[in-house]
């Protein structure tokens, strides 16, 4: 289990009362103690542009004497609060928020990679991340090398003098392989290559990759951080120095988020620790239930001792999240779909990490147009189901799955 080392103290308290607990951070970190109009919540600031009192104040701003807002694409008050909160939760110095998870990843890649550069990544990942790297970064002359997940020898062998970034998810989607982050960060440092972890499936409640020396953490905040299936957002957390170029490029490319969305994200973050405890509890209970069910061939969940990376998970994670992948015994794609269709509480849909449970068949939802050999290569069999547990009553979710499997 990781320690509760959180650097950020309660804002506005001097000297800090003590190092704040995670739920205190969720409620207060990054926010001003005394806000506009003495309101307890942050105002939603929709302004697209910010006015200057005089020419002198414009010049002061340009000469960086006076930090302030200028134009919405470069940042906004709602964004700053959320960025400070996200940085605190990940124990990072700085965070940058984007319009979506993908916009965040693209924002980082575009800022850090040039034609001729190479990146190496572990092959179990969100299919759109893979698609962006292999189909689109390649158009800009960036070479993407994929190596088997968790195989550090293969990753090291793929490193060349042009390699600029090592990338992985942890846990991976949908196999939930947990990466040894210490080893991952060390490999990067040894070769002087930056490292990035997509920790969306873990969330900063369960793991903080920066603590292990990883350079960047990427989150789709749409998932656990927002937590209510009602907003899209993405973030990159890391050091101020390393993120400066990412922020500058975002200001040009424009993939920012909106004030309304950011307010909802800030509101969602207030219950983040509480929700994660429940997601972890539900995830573990359902994984245990499925393991003992006669219709189940296999369960992928890092909290199970049967999972190949269970020991790394146990060492580095506070809990194991709400995502579970499982295989139905002796079922073709149709019989598998019948289980999905028979669920009454979990709804069929992509995404995860919200209060509502979602369920999907990766073959249908994400890999329908891929040829069978490619699906085999990515480890997506026809009888695979991915369930994203929400925060409903644990027994209700188990009963629902039980009736779906019996039908």
């Amino acid at each position: 289990m990781q320690t509760d080392k959180i650097q950020e103290s309660i804002p506005g308290t001097t000297p800090p009362l003590r190092v704040a607990g995670p739920s205190t951070q969720c409620v207060h970190a990054g926010e001003a103690r005394q806000k506009m109009a003495d309101a307890i919540t942050d105002a939603i600031c929709c302004s697209s542009t910010y006015t200057f009192e005089s020419t002198k104040s414009v010049i002061d701003f340009i000469e960086q004497k006076q930090p302030r807002e200028e134009y919405g694409r470069y940042g906004s008050p709602n964004e700053k609060v959320v960025e400070r909160k996200l940085a605190a939760l990940d124990n990072g110095e700085d965070a940058i928020v984007f319009a979506s998870g993908m916009a965040a990843a693209v924002g980082l890649y575009m800022a850090k990679l040039n034609a001729g550069d190479e990146i190496v990544f572990f092959d179990q990942c969100y299919h759109r991340s893979r698609e962006f790297c292999s189909k689109h970064l390649s158009r800009f002359g960036v070479v993407t090398r994929q190596v088997p997940t968790g195989d550090f020898n293969a990753m090291e062998a793929a490193i060349t003098s042009k390699t600029k970034m090592l990338v992985s998810e942890s846990p991976t989607n949908p196999h939930l392989t947990v990466i040894d982050l210490e080893q991952f960060a060390a490999l990067g440092k040894e070769h002087k290559i930056e490292t990035m972890i997509d920790a969306t499936l873990a969330s900063p409640y369960n793991i903080r990759p920066l603590d292990y020396g990883v350079d960047y953490v990427w989150h789709s905040c749409t998932k656990y951080l927002g937590g209510h299936n009602d907003l899209l957002a993405g973030s990159i957390v890391g050091s101020k120095e390393k993120l400066e170029s990412v922020r500058n490029l975002r200001g040009i490319m424009g993939g920012i988020n909106s004030a309304h969305n950011l307010y909802l994200l800030e509101r969602g973050l207030k219950t983040f620790a509480l929700r994660m405890e429940r997601h972890n509890e539900n995830g573990q209970a359902i994984a245990d239930f499925l393991t003992n069910h006669p219709r189940i061939e296999h369960v992928y969940y890092p909290g199970l001792s049967s999972h190949p990376t269970h020991s790394v998970a146990k060492r580095t994670m506070r809990g194991f999240g709400g995502l579970i992948t499982f295989l139905i015994k002796d079922a073709d794609w149709r019989k598998t779909a019948d289980v999905v269709d028979a669920c009454r509480i979990s709804r069929i849909g992509p995404s995860l990490g919200g209060v509502e449970s979602l369920i999907e068949q990766p073959l249908v939802m994400s890999y329908f147009n891929y040829p069978p050999e490619q699906r085999a290569q990515f480890g997506i069999p026809d009888n695979m189901i991915r369930m994203a547990c929400g925060i409903e009553d644990t027994q209700d979710l188990i009963d629902d799955l039980a009736q779906a499997l019996d039908s």
């Binding site: 309660i10 506005g12 308290t13 009362l17 003590r18 704040a20 607990g21 995670p22 739920s23 205190t24 969720c26 409620v27 207060h28 103690r33 307890i40 919540t41 209510h228 299936n229 009602d230 909802l264 509101r267 207030k270 219950t271 620790a273 509480l274 929700r275 429940r278 509480i345 709804r347 849909g349 919200g354 209060v355 509502e356 979602l358 929400g390 925060i391 409903e392 009553d393 027994q395 209700d396 979710l397």
Partner: protein, 380 residues
């Protein structure tokens, strides 16, 4: 479906038009009708709007009622219920009730010739004694504000019904996560949904829930005729907040219990009023009536005058000094000068709303952080 699952799914069925897992926010004030004089499901949004109705359905399910009505504030909801009364009627209300309810009873309803008597709801015999032949309604709180008294809901409901009256109960402090008064015989449940139901200090709202179809129709008629309905954006935020209601209230109850026990041991603290404590006179009743916790509200009295109390309230660093309650952020306040400032001095003295009282609303912060903050503020 169990409580927590209902709080997420009932009323929030996916949008059939788009499949959206979160139903869209309908801002329309008016709706196109099938024909002149023929009415569709919705006509004008004061009379009903899709977004508001969805959340009403959720709240009705959580309280175990046949229907719920959402109002623009808790006071609008209370007033909505009290408009069932007419000139010449009498209402008996608990003696420690929200200051705003006290003001409504004494300064507004009184103008319509409605008479009020306050009596301690936790003292069943005195409460019964306050009834008159023209008593049409009793109004109590699940947990009295700010003295944290516990009324016997079943006993009061039975007595009120024997006098052909209605029992209205403000369930704001307890929430349906801990107590469902309709199951105990109450007729009308009222919420300042601004508090625990919304839970994030960002939407002012009120609710009425009833278990009887005819009573629902009567209340709906009044609401539609007088118009204090909740808007679509607030309805959305309220519905979003309710999805984590059970999680929040249970956690806040756990933290409050820990903090109440700790406060009891502080030499500066004269007494702690929290229904979860064995020393609380209503503890046994609370145990019987409540399930899963005793709520996130604590009142305590310090050994000091108004100024000393004020100083404590002003020196916390995590607790915000503000009225209201039930949100993710912890709040502290002094009832005598803040939430109960509307009480006449004579009633403050009579009912024990003393200068040394401090009311806490426990938020979602780490209880150890909150305890440390109180320690430095009290100066232990």
């Amino acid at each position: 479906m169990k409580f927590r699952t209902r709080s997420i799914h009932v009323g929030a069925e996916p949008d059939p038009a788009t499949g959206a897992v979160v139903p869209p926010i309908h801002t329309a004030t008016t709706f196109i009708q099938p024909g002149a004089g023929e009415w569709g499901k919705f006509d004008y949004s004061r009379s009903g709007s899709p977004t508001r109705n969805q959340v009403e359905k959720t709240i009705a399910s959580l309280e175990g009622g046949v229907g719920a009505l959402l109002f623009s504030s808790g006071m609008a909801a209370t007033h909505g219920a009290m408009m069932l009364l007419q000139s010449g009627d009498h209402i008996v209300a608990g003696s420690d009730i929200y200051g705003g309810t006290y003001r409504l009873l004494h300064k507004i309803l009184s103008r319509s010739g409605i008479e009020v008597t306050l009596a301690p709801a936790h003292d069943i015999e005195s409460f019964k004694a306050a009834f008159k032949p023209n008593t049409k309604m009793a109004w109590i709180e699940t947990i009295g504000n700010p003295l944290m008294t516990i009324p016997d809901i079943r006993a009061i409901a039975d007595f009120t019904h024997s006098r052909k009256g209605l029992l209205g109960i403000d369930n704001t402090f307890a929430t349906p996560s801990l107590v469902r008064p309709l199951e105990l015989g109450a007729d009308i449940v009222m919420h300042s949904a601004t508090k625990y139901l919304g839970g994030h200090s960002d939407c002012l709202s009120g609710a009425l829930v009833v278990g009887d179809e005819q009573l629902f129709k009567d209340l709906y008629f009044t609401q539609n005729a007088t118009g204090a309905v909740l808007g679509p954006f607030e309805s959305f935020l309220l519905g979003r907040g309710i999805k984590t209601l059970d999680l929040r209230v249970k956690e806040q109850s756990r933290s409050a219990m820990q903090i109440a026990r700790w406060l009891q041991k502080q030499p500066m603290v004269k007494r702690v009023l929290y229904p979860g404590l064995e020393t609380h006179p209503g503890h046994e009743l609370a145990k019987r009536q409540m399930g899963g916790g005793f709520g996130g509200m604590i009142t305590f009295e310090i050994d000091g005058d108004l100024a000393a109390t004020k100083r404590v309230c002003e020196s916390t660093k995590i607790f915000g000094l503000a009225v209201s309650l039930g949100a993710v952020e912890s709040l502290i306040e002094q009832p005598a000068t803040m939430s109960h400032a509307s009480y006449a001095i004579v009633d403050k003295v009579r009912f024990g709303i003393t200068d040394g009282l401090i009311r806490l609303s426990i938020g979602l912060e780490d209880p150890e952080d909150l305890q440390n903050d109180l320690a430095q503020a009290i100066g232990t």
